[in-house]
């Protein structure tokens, strides 16, 4: 599997799974809306990447994949340990921004 597409798939799965967890944690309506927007963006990033190819040898793409995987790992740990919702959302926004940069690197076949 193309590592960039796989990273975007993992991000979408992880964010979508975190919605009921943050609801249960008592996140405010504004915070949940921000998360829903981030989920929609990560889903669009994933589907944009599907069926297209990345310049996998591009060092910038490799760095973005590495950054995204690291931020995703940190985010998963924060959500699991039910930390501060605002901090989690900040991490989500950063991770999705990296995903959007990665998706923007796609080239049409």
């Amino acid at each position: 599997m193309n590592p960039a597409t796989l990273a975007l798939e993992n991000q979408y799965f992880s964010l979508r799974k975190s919605l009921p967890e943050l609801e249960a944690q008592g996140a405010t309506q504004d915070q949940l809306d921000a998360l829903r927007t981030a989920i929609a963006q990560s889903r669009t990033n994933y589907w944009t990447a599907i069926g297209r190819q990345f310049h996998e040898d591009d060092p910038e793409v490799a760095a973005l994949i590495s950054q995204m995987n690291a931020s995703q790992l940190a985010l998963d740990q924060t959500v699991k340990h039910l930390g501060d919702v605002a901090k989690i959302l900040n991490g989500i926004t950063q991770a999705v921004d990296i995903g959007s940069k990665l998706a923007a690197k796609v080239i049409a076949l």
Partner: protein, 303 residues
């Protein structure tokens, strides 16, 4: 003199018999390859059809997700899914065109060639050239278009070896495409199953699912029917329902991965058999590639 003539006659007879048997063998191989390739291409088309259905269902699931969990799904969000659906549909159409062309190879053993052969050949060339997935600047699309034209001429002239060579090139393009895109197909199906299971999980958590059909194994032998579950029964069965959901989702993803691997094996197997035909070697196996059974079983359960 009579003995010499008799010997000569016997020699010519044996030679004619040998040529006849050889010609018949090659025709049988060509006919068998045509049948196998037709089945393989039809199954490839069915495989793409199931994948297209998964994308269509993914669109419906995202609409549900927007209603139930308020995750936005607007026109701009829908577009990349529809683009993917369009690309998969092109592959399905190309596989169907391959099936028609493969079926036309059986014309090698008949005295006339249907005009449908030419239509099938040019349709396949067009479908493959229309696809954007083959590498830019690659000779493959042109080669495939040419292969279609050559195939038509060779079938018309009853040239089995040349027809097989042309078909070999066409099959190579399909193997290349499927192998390159297989991880994408697996990811698309995995995402479809993920979203379906996530929505089902949310509904179970909201007590919006009636788990009473889960009682069927206990009640069916006695011809009993469960009543709709009350709140207490829903709570009791929630953990079991969520556990089964997880297992079923993992099984579904694995079956798709197995089916796409089996489809790739079948395409590669067909290519090697057609290569035998193209190099005038005997094709010992007359059955369809065995791995097609796995594909057919998945297609039957996936739709």
């Amino acid at each position: 003199m009579t003995t010499i003539l008799r010997r000569h006659f016997c020699f010519v007879s044996v030679l004619l018999l040998f040529l006849c048997v050889f010609a018949c063998k090659v025709s049988e191989d060509a006919a068998a390859a045509a049948r196998q390739m037709t089945t393989t291409a039809v199954d490839l088309s069915s495989h793409y059809n199931s994948l297209a259905q998964a994308v269509t269902d993914s669109i419906a699931l995202n609409e549900l997700d927007a209603s139930i969990s308020k995750i936005p799904f607007e026109a701009k969000d829908r577009r990349p899914l529809e683009d993917t659906l369009s690309e998969i549909s092109k592959r399905k159409d190309a596989a169907l065109a391959l099936a028609k062309l493969a079926a036309s190879m059986s014309a090698l053993s008949s005295s006339t060639v249907s005009s449908e052969v030419g239509t099938a050949a040019s349709a396949l060339g067009k479908e493959l050239v229309d696809m954007k997935a083959l590498p830019a600047g690659s000779p493959v699309p042109d080669a495939v278009g040419q292969a279609g034209k050559f195939l038509l001429q060779f079938v018309q002239q009853h040239k089995e070896k040349e027809a097989a060579q042309a078909m070999n090139g066409t099959l190579a393009a399909f193997v290349f495409l499927f192998e390159k895109e297989k991880p994408t197909y697996d990811s698309i199906f995995r995402t479809y199953i993920f979203l379906a299971s996530q929505i089902a999980r949310d509904l179970i958590a909201r007590r919006a699912v009636d788990p009473s059909p889960m009682l069927t194994p206990a009640l069916k032998p006695f011809d009993l029917t469960p009543l709709p579950a009350d709140a207490q029964l829903r709570d009791t069965l929630q953990a079991l329902a969520l556990g089964r959901l997880q297992t079923s989702a993992e099984d579904a993803s694995k079956r798709e991965t197995d089916a796409s691997s089996a489809m790739l094996s079948a395409l590669e197997e067909m290519r090697s058999r057609v290569h035998l035909l193209a190099t005038e070697k005997p094709m010992p196996i007359r059955d369809n590639p065995f791995s097609l059974k796995i594909v057919e079983s998945w297609v039957a359960s996936a739709i």
